[in-house]
């Protein structure tokens, strides 16, 4: 395992943890037995179809040859995983040089956002990748048609060779469109839900195009799958979360010190909020971007209502640095200042009695990120099941969509 997790400052005792171990063991057993619906992601990194892996890599090569920019159209679980990994690996200076730019559309319904994106795409040679598990997402459906028109105007009938679809098996909607137009189509497995699909084709194809080493990402997840099966200390984060919630901590704040990690905390927000937030349950997840947020949320973290606990994801070694060439910090690197701020905040919050989870990553790369992804997914299942809710359904998200239909 290439990261460490320090749970010694959560305020939860060994005895309290021990009381949950029996339940946790049966959760892990149920998860691995394949008896839970939509838990296909559990074995994904262990038994990933190598023909599929090859097809993804070949398609990524094909896309990189055809264009200089890939526009991914998707929302929620259909883009958060890919964006998280591409940004984190890019920010760690680990993207392969033959990767091309990957931009995201359909992540909201703002005309201003999409007009700005179109401006950015002027003069670019583009391909599209449309991702929707259901094949019926409103944002994806609407924005796909806007971009389809752009593609036909730009590439005439050859536009079809530049559009790639990734959908679930459900017929109709966008899947039917892909078949009618004859686009290259990837099919997501039925037994993996959107927010757990980052290591399936939905995440892997855009990542590979951007220059992420997706095999290493899978290898990282694989080693974690093996470790978490038997190491019950690894399961303690999930138990700690449950117990902190029981003790009145309503919010988990995820703190990172690199803007390139923001996408990862956005992915974490969906994973946890959608898996746990049902039947009046769940810990409300919040992403904080340091050091900026130390200057806005820092006062609250230090002295405010004690309704939260902190999970800090620290990257120890940064491949980039800029030396400060004068003044008070003359000769000090920004990276060292950033580390000092992180350590200072951790100590100050510890002293203030904030329950702290500290995850330390010596160096960020695909292998570690694969481990982290799998680790958080499994931890989330543990907490959700201890709360008594199903980590794999989302009965509430359809509600606003049916209300929305009244207005359009």
């Amino acid at each position: 395992m290439d990261f460490t997790i320090d749970l010694s400052n959560t305020g939860i005792t060994a005895d309290e943890l021990k009381e949950q171990k029996e339940d946790t063991a049966s959760i892990m057993e149920a998860l691995w037995s394949g008896k839970m619906d939509l838990s296909g992601w559990v074995k994904l990194p262990l038994y990933f179809d190598q023909r599929k892996m090859r097809a993804i890599l070949e398609t990524a090569e094909e896309i990189k040859k055809k264009c200089d920019t890939l526009v991914v159209i998707g929302i929620g679980g259909s883009y958060l995983g890919a964006k998280a990994v591409i940004d984190a690996i890019g920010g760690a200076g680990q993207l392969k040089h033959d990767g091309i730019e990957v931009l995201f559309a359909g992540t909201n319904l703002s005309p201003a956002y999409h007009l700005e994106l179109m401006q950015k795409l002027e003069g670019k040679d583009i391909c599209l990748c449309v991702v929707s598990k259901s094949g019926t997402t409103a944002e994806t459906e609407a924005v796909y048609h806007i971009f389809k028109k752009i593609m036909t105007e730009k590439y005439d009938t050859s536009f079809r060779d530049r559009i790639y679809f990734i959908t679930g098996t459900g017929e109709g909607g966008l899947r039917e469109e892909a078949k009618t137009e004859g686009y290259k189509l990837f099919t997501m497995p039925d037994d993996i839900g959107g927010r757990y699909s980052v290591l399936s084709e939905a995440g892997l194809l855009p990542m590979a195009v951007a220059g992420v080493n997706i095999k290493d990402l899978h290898r990282g997840a694989e080693i974690m799958a093996t470790d978490m099966g038997w190491d019950d200390v690894l399961q303690d984060y999930g138990i700690n979360r449950y117990l902190l919630k029981e003790k009145g901590k309503a919010v988990e704040t995820f703190l990172t010190y690199e803007p390139s990690m923001h996408g990862f905390t956005e992915w974490l927000r969906q994973l946890f909020a959608e898996s746990e937030g049902k039947a009046g349950q769940g810990i409300l997840p919040m992403a904080l971007d340091m050091t900026g947020d130390l200057h806005s949320m820092g006062q609250f973290l230090q002295d405010g209502a004690p309704v939260f606990f902190e999970t800090v994801i620290d990257i120890e070694e940064n491949p980039f640095d800029i030396m400060v060439p004068g003044g008070k910090y003359d000769g000090v690197g920004l990276a060292a200042l950033n580390r000092a701020a992180a350590k200072g905040a951790l100590d100050a919050h510890k002293e203030a009695g904030v329950p702290l989870v500290h995850i330390s990553v010596p160096v960020m790369n695909e292998y570690v990120l694969g481990q982290l992804i799998y680790y958080f997914e499994t931890s989330c299942v543990i907490t959700a099941r201890l709360m008594g809710v199903d980590p794999f359904d989302q009965p509430g998200v359809e509600r606003y969509k049916s209300e929305m239909k009244k207005f359009v």
Copy 2:
């Protein structure tokens, strides 16, 4: 007043509100008496020194003539207000055409972030604006020296004509640097704290450079200052917030449907978190970007732990639109779809029993934004004082800085 606020779905009764009216009246009186330390922002839009306004506008013209990009170096209250206004007005299509690009540095300590920014600045003609109330902020100090070096390399001895400073009156630190180098220097009033400084020179100069009509912004704040003095319905948002907190709502989620409003919700987070989060008090503020976050946090908002209330800031008329040219939404505009999603979510959350505050802005412009800024600032003071805390201090933010010193 050019926006409406609907407080009828918070679950707070008229009688409950009435009980707080006496306290609220004395808070408003104290605020207007000038007896509270650091409450100078209250009268700022009413009695703003017009010579200062002219100096800001003239300096903005000077900067726009000298360069094509202004880099603002500041963190927390020294940039959140300017960014909020520039993005919101830009997203509403209201920026004057002679404005130039304004970018932000020193908003964190990430080397990767600043290297990317430097790449973006290659080939640009730049000026700097360094903002720090204390004059000793670590991020601003470090990043200023990095950019000073860039400026000397690029412009030789004439770099001094391209650097502008805005600091408080406290001598030493960055203020001393400005005096030593002979930069043009603006001085922030002593009686306005960083997070309430958006309508002072700290916010106004960068905004004017970007093409914001800062006089209209001030006029909007002025009308709100007048209205809030006598209209106690306007004060009810602040009271509602306090009572919702008392009823166990630990979190306020600010929902917007335009990415250009994200900066405004970031500004709100600092305003509320830093003003209220002390002595174990405060409502934890959270910014949600719709519709994206409906696909990640939507499940929790609908069915999760009832630990939050929602404040929705809706903009009804959008100057931009893109027609969907096919499929299920053929002939419908993205703007209409976005509005339908907002209405659908509002109804669905209402049905789920989430306490709702609904702020509706018919059209976004400087005048309305000035009103909103002043409205939120005053509401924040009401809630903080009802909680029994000082809305203008921040005793906790120094803690991590002193811990940080051990490591650098």
